[in-house]
């Protein structure tokens, strides 16, 4: 296989195994030493590095924006979009005035393979795998749903106590190193202003809460920003999104990522559910990777720009 020589020749229009994504991250860092660095925030259960790309133009501990993809490993279009986002940031800085203004004052952190053990497993053992790969004592079933393992309504309705369930919340909050590593990093950084966790599929933009019907205190602002973001998204290819709080738009889900981040004080906490609504589900054709990433980027820019212009 001809390895790409640089991130310009890297093929963003196809799905890559984990080693190629790691190589891509290292290439991007090497090509952009003044802006991109790689932080290893921890290790997965099977010992893979949890790599976070930091995009920064200087300063110390600037207000920051977090984006993660691939926490559910089978949602391949998200990790693929994350690679495209990484390249977009370095390409557009200095060209796009909105992104340039954001990066002159804020940092962006991007974790592309948030569940590496699961992602490896989807390529080599079971394409349908969603959870982590840590064994559950006393059960034949492996793995915890990393989007039910956070300390926000943990173990409540909207997650399963059965290790064999796809929404198993785990033995306790933050039991999964893939989750605990982000928790520790976000707490130690202490200056995140937006947190965006990207899933697929079903085309939705969601904000907290998922574990309770109590509206968040910033509901009006989050709702109108979500509307703006999905309007920008639809402007490219007409892809239609629904939006709203998790519990009112889809279902009750406890122990979710953005419920925890919002409760940490990170106001602009959102979850995306990318394409598809057609007939492919998780098996989205690679031809749709770049269009999905392009349209999602418009929504991300709307959220990042709003965060930049509304410091708190």
């Amino acid at each position: 296989v001809t390895q790409p020589r640089n991130t310009d020749s890297y093929d963003y229009g196809r799905y890559h195994p984990i080693n190629e994504i790691y190589d891509f991250q290292d290439m991007l860092v090497a090509e952009n030493p003044n802006m991109v660095s790689k932080i290893v925030i921890g290790q997965s259960y099977e010992g893979r590095p949890l790599n976070v790309l930091k995009f920064s133009t200087g300063g110390t501990n600037r207000p920051a924006i977090w984006i993660d993809t691939g926490i559910h490993s089978r949602e391949w279009v998200t990790q693929a979009s994350g690679q495209w986002f990484a390249k977009k940031i370095v390409t557009d800085y200095g060209r796009d005035p909105t992104l340039t203004a954001i990066l002159n004052k804020m940092d962006i952190f991007l974790e592309i393979v948030t569940n590496p053990d699961g992602y490896y497993y989807t390529h080599n053992n079971n394409r349908m795998w969603r959870k982590t790969r840590k064994p559950n004592p006393g059960s034949n079933c492996v793995g915890v749903d990393p989007n039910r393992n956070w300390d926000a309504g943990f173990g409540g309705p909207g997650a399963s106590g059965r290790p064999c369930s796809e929404t198993y919340h785990g033995p306790r909050a933050n039991s999964e190193s893939e989750v605990k590593s982000i928790v520790d990093f976000v707490k130690s950084h202490g200056n995140f202003k937006a947190f965006i966790s990207i899933h697929s599929y079903s085309q939705m933009l969601l904000y907290p809460y998922g574990y309770t019907r109590t509206p968040v205190k910033d509901q009006a602002e989050l709702h109108s920003l979500a509307k703006k973001a999905i309007t920008d998204l639809a402007s490219l290819y007409g892809t239609r999104y629904r939006y709203g709080s998790i519990i009112s738009t889809i279902y009750q889900a406890s122990g979710g990522t953005i419920d925890w981040t919002y409760n940490q004080g990170i106001k602009y906490s959102y979850t995306f559910e990318l394409r598809d609504t057609g007939r492919y589900g998780f098996i989205l054709p690679p031809s749709q990777i770049i269009p999905t990433a392009q349209e999602t980027w418009l929504a991300l820019m709307a959220i990042m720009d709003h965060t930049y212009k509304n410091p708190y």
Partner: protein
């Protein structure tokens, strides 16, 4: 490597809350080994379920006897996965 010959993904559109709860009941029938790709949300929003071959007939009879409309979103999951794998390998080459 786990394969999915004969697995189908059914797209179910519940008409009302009664049908919604009947579909939710399916979630608890763990012997069917159903994989909810899109969970139960509200009436009119599709629910997509991957159904292993060994459960297909039983699940379809269950839906039909309850008058719950469904369509087959993916006829054979393994065929799609083979195509995806082939596409990855040819793109890599």
């Amino acid at each position: 490597k786990e394969t999915f010959e004969g697995h189908q993904v059914l797209r179910i559109v519940p008409k009302d809350d009664v049908q919604l709860s009947l579909i939710k009941d399916l979630e608890d029938m763990i012997e069917f080994e159903l994989d909810f790709w899109r969970g139960v949300t509200d009436a009119v929003t599709p629910v997509d379920i991957r159904v292993p071959f060994h459960s297909l007939q039983t699940v379809k009879i269950y839906l039909e006897t309850q008058g719950i409309e469904y369509s087959t979103m993916i006829e054979d999951l393994q065929t799609m996965l083979d195509d995806e794998q082939e596409e990855m390998e040819s793109a890599a080459r």
